[in-house]
């Protein structure tokens, strides 16, 4: 399992916050306790908000360019406009803070189709009216799917020829909830910082 730079930074911040909180509770300066509580609340609130956003079931984006990725044709099951934060449907597609959500059945080369809901602020590839799309996804983590703005012509042609019948498969879910890595690594780092500071003192 690889960690992104943002996850490592978040875990470090959480570790520092936890260590400050523990030191403050264990008889340290009061400002240390206040610092720890403030920082920890901010981290937890941010992860909680991210998790609630993810609960709407949108596919996660691709990670660094070094990660494996592949193109695949997809069938458009449906498309709608929703509010970015609440996930509720909005009638006006030009409203602020709205995104398009495309419900796709991705049919990769290995023949195991899967379903993904991809959110994007723009109607890329004209999917509000079209029934075929080209997606880019991570073959190892299939919940990571994006809609490329300008897919290769070869894949456009393959998508146009796509013949998939049958009911759409169940949507995939991420293996861990959002921020779980930050929470676990942050707890470990916090414990490490506390032990290290006790050892130094």
């Amino acid at each position: 399992m690889r960690l992104s730079g943002g996850a490592v930074l978040g875990a470090c911040v959480m570790g520092v916050a936890l260590a400050a909180l523990v030191q403050g509770v264990a008889g340290g300066a009061l400002w240390l306790l206040v610092f720890g509580i403030t920082l920890l609340s901010a981290v937890l609130a941010a992860i909680g908000k991210a998790a609630e956003m993810a609960a709407k079931g949108f596919a996660a984006g691709l990670r660094s360019p070094a990660r494996p990725r592949a193109y695949a044709p997809a069938l458009v099951n449906g498309a709608k406009t929703v509010h970015k934060e609440t996930g509720r449907a909005v009638a006006d597609g030009r409203a602020q803070k709205r995104v398009f959500v495309f419900d796709l059945t991705v049919v990769p080369d290995d023949g195991v189709p899967f379903r993904a809901k991809v959110a994007h602020p723009l109607d890329l590839q004209g999917l509000m009216t079209s029934k075929r799309a080209v997606v880019e996804y991570d073959p190892r983590q299939r919940w990571r799917v994006v809609l490329p703005a300008d897919p290769p012509e070869e894949w456009r042609a393959r998508a146009a020829r796509l013949a998939f019948t049958g009911p759409p498969p169940e949507p995939l879910a991420a293996r861990f909830p959002p921020g779980a890595q930050i929470l676990v690594l942050g707890l470990l780092l916090g414990a490490l910082f506390v032990v290290a500071s006790r050892a130094v003192v």
């Binding site: 300066a29 509580i37 403030t38 509010h83 509720r88 449907a89 602020q96």
Partner: protein, 233 residues
């Protein structure tokens, strides 16, 4: 655990931590108030004691708690956080009195927060109890307002179903209220149009129809709930 529950649990934990901070800081600001060693000159007053800046820090913490807790407390948020801060302050004063740190007639001031006059501990306590009472009243009013607007009792205690809804037509029936037709689809995709009465605030924003699954077409059991967040449609 569902992702939504997990997210809400983390946000509730963040709220709990910030509420603890509000309590801690306001309690210390009162408990240590008489022990603050102020140094004043022509520019103003200052101190190295934590309690000297605690009211300002407490104010910032109250704002932060308000932002975090609004998700759960809706319109009761301002009343709840102000009542918490005032009660924490009362707790600090009472403990200082009990331990003999201060007497009821002891006069204290916080030049950083209130750069005027010096109130006695008894006056502070009276003021704080008044603030607490007003804040509790505001919290109760806010809670009642939010429960009514979001139809929380019907949704969570009487098992009514909800669906995204659209309103059409508006015929004023009273102060800020009017008759509309609410259109929604039930869980099976069957569309209904039901006449109902809504507040004017429900117009021009996404709303939810709250209905009895056994009688979705019944105007007597169908209500319109207005979500807390007003987002563009």
């Amino acid at each position: 655990m569902r992702a939504r529950t997990y997210g809400q649990a983390l946000r509730a934990l963040a709220c709990g931590l910030m509420a603890w901070q509000v309590w801690l800081v306001f309690r210390v600001s009162a408990y240590d108030a008489v022990m603050i060693d102020w140094s004043c000159d022509s520019q103003g007053c200052g101190s190295d004691d934590f309690a000297s800046a605690a009211p300002l820090l407490g104010g910032a913490s109250v704002l932060a708690l308000g932002f975090l807790a609004a998700r759960f407390l809706h319109r009761a948020t301002p009343g709840c956080v102000v009542a918490l801060a005032a009660l924490a302050n009362v707790s600090g004063w009472r403990e200082a009195l009990d331990e003999g740190r201060a007497a009821e007639g002891t006069r204290v001031d916080w030049p950083l927060l209130l750069p005027f006059g010096r109130l006695s501990v008894a006056q502070w306590l009276t003021s704080l109890w008044v603030i607490t009472a007003v804040a509790v009243l505001c919290a109760v009013w806010g809670a009642a307002f939010s429960v009514r607007r979001t139809a929380a009792v019907l949704r969570y205690f009487r098992g009514r179903a909800t669906a995204e809804a659209e309103l059409s037509g508006w015929q004023r029936t009273g102060r800020g209220r009017g008759a509309v037709t609410v259109r929604f689809e039930d869980g099976r995709g069957v569309a209904y149009e039901v006449p109902t009465v809504v507040e004017m605030a429900a117009l021009g924003r996404p709303v939810l129809a709250v209905y009895d699954e056994a009688r979705p077409e019944d105007p007597a059991t169908t209500r319109v709930a207005i979500p807390r967040k007003r987002f563009p449609q």
